[in-house]
Point group: C2
Chain length 239, copies 2
């Protein structure tokens, strides 16, 4: 059994973004990432500042149940890039056997067979402002394997910081028009503890993104969302 | 051809709430309602303060296209209670013929055959704080007719002001467990023009609602959302 490096288990809370926005969920955050996005809001998963626990699948499920009690039936697996970890397949199987639904978010740079079993897959290719390069053939294969699953869903999510990112997002949307697409404002103020100021700053950025999308007919189909948890709780970790 | 009383046509903007939250859409708001909710945020649709234009379906579609140009492919029909108006069937048909998707929101107190043709139906039964009474048999029939449509979707949305509303919402959710359910904070400050104060007030209410749901295992499945347009634009009409 492959162990999984776990950095955080917390909840229940609400999913603040993307395809299941507002959904009551537990979070399981894994350590390690193959990317180094310039604006990563979870850099502690890969910059060495926090050490993960190496856990067996059954221990992970036990900790989720200890934290969440009877108050959840949905678990979001996030990172870092959770797709680095083969052992999450067993975690997913154990959760679904208990009637718990699962979601995962990944940039789509690594494939795991367990990915096809996840209920809600968010693929979040990284725009130019991240400093990362998209491997389009890899992304094509990812989407192809996930989009025609029966009751399970896949979506794309692109975080937007500037006009160049927006044009990248339009390219992604045109390449995969059949996949539900979310645009999200990026948080460029990751270290401030002034929640009131951050709230106003993030809403101004969200309004800017809404305006851009409203005036772009390449983006008629997309959904534009803020990060609800950041509006509520600022930059606090573990909520 | 039955004419439709129209109070507002505006957009494109984003849908600020519910099942298609964040989606770029045009709004068509009809006049008239069979309800008188104490906290209605669109009372101008029924209190006589604003006069609707009686329009043919083709004129409505023309005005939507004039306002929205090539910058939309989704129209949200709201009210008042749009289900009072037979003529919306023709509006819906004309829009869908052009490849435009449609959404409607209604409390589920009146039935129209065109309801089955709408892509995204939000049924929003009104909780006790509204002062209205739910006719459960009517609601059962509504859900029954809408829930098994092939590619079209239905959801429930309940606006929450207090604990009694929350318990009502849990009853609704248990009666229709198979229907996706959204809880939404109500805006109890409809007349303030102080957007900054309203924002902080509404986020406090949203956080309260999130906390209640997190601690209620009858509500594990629901999604809890704010009204994004109110966070962005306060009480302004027509955005």
């Amino acid at each position: 059994m492959k162990k999984v490096p776990v950095l955080e288990i917390f909840g229940p809370t609400i999913q603040g973004e993307g395809m299941v926005i507002g959904r009551k969920t537990m979070f399981l955050r894994t350590g390690g990432c193959d990317y180094r996005c310039s604006w990563c809001d979870s850099a502690f998963t890969w910059d060495g500042s926090q050490k993960p626990d190496l856990l067996e699948a059954s221990d992970i499920v036990e900790r989720l149940e200890m934290e969440g009690g009877s108050f959840f039936n949905h678990v979001t697996i996030s990172g870092g890039n959770p797709a680095l970890h083969e052992g999450l397949g067993e975690v997913n199987r154990l959760l679904q056997e208990k009637g718990i639904q699962t979601a995962v978010e990944t940039q789509g740079s690594f494939w795991q067979e367990w990915m096809t079993e996840i209920d809600d897959v968010t693929i979040s290719p990284k725009p130019p402002s991240s400093g990362m390069k998209t491997n389009w053939e890899q992304l094509d294969a990812y989407i192809r394997r996930l989009k025609d699953r029966d009751t399970k869903k896949v979506s794309l999510k692109v975080v937007i910081f500037d006009d160049t990112d927006l044009s990248y997002a339009a390219d992604v949307h045109e390449r995969y028009p059949e996949v539900e697409m979310f645009l999200q404002t990026g948080n460029d103020e990751l270290s401030t503890a002034d929640d009131q100021w951050l709230l106003s700053h993030l809403l101004t950025r969200y309004e800017w993104l809404v305006e851009q999308v409203l005036h772009a007919n390449r983006l008629n189909d997309v959904k534009v969302l803020p990060q609800l948890h950041t509006l509520l709780w600022g930059n606090k970790q573990g909520v």
